[in-house]
């Protein structure tokens, strides 16, 4: 992105000034080198988002922002339903409620290392991953509707996990407002065999250890100590979410014409929040969120079983589960007044600071855990939400490293087998359903997650708490 087209507001904050179509300015939070490396398309897409009806304050990009479908990935935008605000499937993404769950294991790196290979092999057997994989759970239509309204709460009621897992899941594992009648039969039929599966692409299940602690009080509240072993589960709403996104691109495309909403890119198709089409999309999207929460809950259950099999003394607890592809109804202060806004976060993590009612009791004094996925060869981070982030970006932070290279370019440069063997030489065990997937996910195809996290920290969006190093990873 050309810096001369931006106005610098601070060391880690930039403004794209309003043009004639933009209703609000756009803001980019990142250090100079990350902003320079962002493609021009991010600027164009942010400007397009800033032109949508009812947008409040600014269209916002996180430090890991990159080109996306309609909205940039790493994009945040809040819309006011009382000011003709819109809701957009492009502002959520195809993988509704894709997110990360981190599990504490009660084990240390030294305890796990001798049995790491058996552990990852067993997890690879038990947690279905890759194209065409099926879960052990087979659902009938009425049962799937229960998943879509019940989310992770459904999973726990069915015996997949513990009640205490829910307290540490965003929305306590179940987003209100889901209506399965707004989800197509095709979307449901695609999901009957996919509950409890990891998927492919950038989804993974990773064994990590805490290498470094940056903020002791938050680490203590989160139950983190140096050397602890953590499991990270990164996946979303599988085929159901994809199909909801696909179905509603058509629905919202028609609605946009009906309500005469000017858009600059087809993928920005949207409808007023207060319209039958907009309301139906929200209800369907909430089903997608619940599907993703159920999915990560079932995978948690499978993971816990494997840990107990191999390490009888393991105490696998849900640290936190947070999504990074959502539209949420949240209260925020706008010009001194509390307003109910529809906050779209696409490739951006909610990062509420201390005191917010949405945060689990255990974390309310410090802020919510913000889980940032890196690559299989580098590191991941746990951050904590800060009050400053709410004023800057509706309480949002980055979500991961963000790709620096297309999948096609990565595939030309690396071979999956070689990537896996190089990781093994570095002591990181990779189990991949597809060599192609492993090549596309080569660590060098991503931005430096540490730079992204440092920018997030320095910008005041969220504070660094802990750095996690990969030990073994299942790639879908």
């Amino acid at each position: 992105m050309e810096l001369k087209q931006l106005k610098r507001l601070g060391e880690y904050q930039w403004e794209i000034p309003r043009d004639k179509d933009m209703r609000v300015p756009a803001l980019v939070f990142a250090g100079e080198d990350l902003v320079s490396d962002m493609d021009e398309k991010v600027r164009e897409q942010l400007s397009n988002v800033a032109s949508l009806p009812g947008i409040v304050k600014a269209a916002i990009a996180m430090p890991d922002a990159h080109w996306g479908y309609g909205f940039p990935i790493g994009g945040v935008a809040a819309f006011d339903p009382d000011d003709n605000g819109i809701i957009s499937a492009g502002g959520v993404g195809y993988d509704i409620s894709c997110g990360i769950r981190n599990l504490l294991t009660g084990l240390t790196r030294d305890e796990v290392l001798p049995l790491l290979e058996s552990l990852i092999d067993r997890l690879f057997q038990v947690v279905p991953s890759g194209v065409g994989s099926e879960g052990k759970i087979r659902l009938k239509p009425a049962e799937l509707d229960d998943v879509l309204t019940g989310g992770a709460q459904w999973a726990v009621e069915m015996g997949y996990g513990l009640p205490e897992d829910l307290a540490h899941t965003e929305e306590q594992g179940r987003l209100e407002g889901a209506d399965p009648s707004c989800v197509s039969d095709i979307a449901k039929r695609r999901q009957y065999r996919q509950v409890g599966t990891l998927g492919s692409g950038n989804h993974y299940l990773e064994i990590q250890y805490v290498e470094e602690i940056f903020h002791q009080p938050s680490a203590k509240a989160f139950g983190l100590k140096q050397g602890d072993v953590i499991v990270a589960i990164h996946c979303g709403s599988r085929a159901l979410g994809h199909q909801i996104g696909t179905d509603y691109l058509q629905v919202l495309g028609k609605a946009g014409k009906k309500y005469q909403i000017p858009i600059k890119e087809r993928e920005l198709v949207c409808a007023p929040i207060k319209s039958p089409e907009g309301e139906r999309y929200y209800k369907a999207m909430a089903c997608g969120v619940n599907c993703a929460l159920a999915n990560r809950q079932v995978i948690t259950h499978l993971t816990r079983r494997v840990f107990h099999e191999i390490f009888p003394k393991a105490a696998v607890k849900n640290l936190y589960d947070v999504s990074h592809n959502t539209c949420k109804i949240e209260e925020h202060r706008v010009n001194g007044e509390v307003k109910r806004l529809y906050v779209h976060r696409k490739g951006a993590t909610r990062a509420f600071g201390p005191g917010r009612a949405e945060i689990p009791d255990a974390f309310r004094d410090v802020g919510q855990p913000v889980l940032i996925g890196g690559t299989m060869g580098t590191c991941s981070y746990i951050l904590v939400g800060q009050e400053t982030g709410e004023a800057l970006a509706w309480g949002s932070a980055c979500h991961g490293a963000g790709r620096s290279m297309s999948r096609r370019a990565a595939l030309k440069r690396w071979k999956g087998r070689k990537v896996i063997s190089e990781m093994a030489h570095r002591g990181i065990l990779i189990r991949a359903a597809s060599y192609r997937g492993a090549a596309e996910e080569a660590p060098e195809a991503y931005k430096d997650v540490t730079k992204v996290v440092d920018s997030t920290h320095q910008a005041g969006l969220a504070r660094k708490v802990a750095k996690l190093r990969p030990m073994a990873c299942i790639k879908g």
Binding site: Y69, G70, Y94, D95, G130, V131, G132, I186, R189, R190, G199, S200, G201, A239, H242, Q243, G245, T246, L249, Q250, G253, K254, K257, E265, R266, E267, V269, R407, A433, S434, Y435, R436, G437, E440, G476
Partner: protein
Amino acid sequence: MFSLLVEDLDTVIPEKSVTISCGSFDMEGLFVAWLNSLLAESDIQRLIFSDFKVKTQDLTLTGTAMGEPFDFSRHQRGVEVKGATFTELAVRQDGDWWIAQCVVDV
């Protein structure tokens, strides 16, 4: 698109056929709807497709997709395609040929 799901699409035998109909609000939308219908049928019927025939009339498409069930002893897994998107979307007729393109999300 299906050459992303399996490494070598030539190993897929077009022995089963599925008929698919879809509609949209314009020709470009119809192309995306067709690709997404193929992905959905592939998921639901657990088939991988390698051969296709389509007919369009107004803004409705009727097509046949041919393929076979996933067999991971013969088909090497690629990556899932989440959906066909409106990005870089273009549909045009060039003589007897139709040329259509879009980005698919993986």
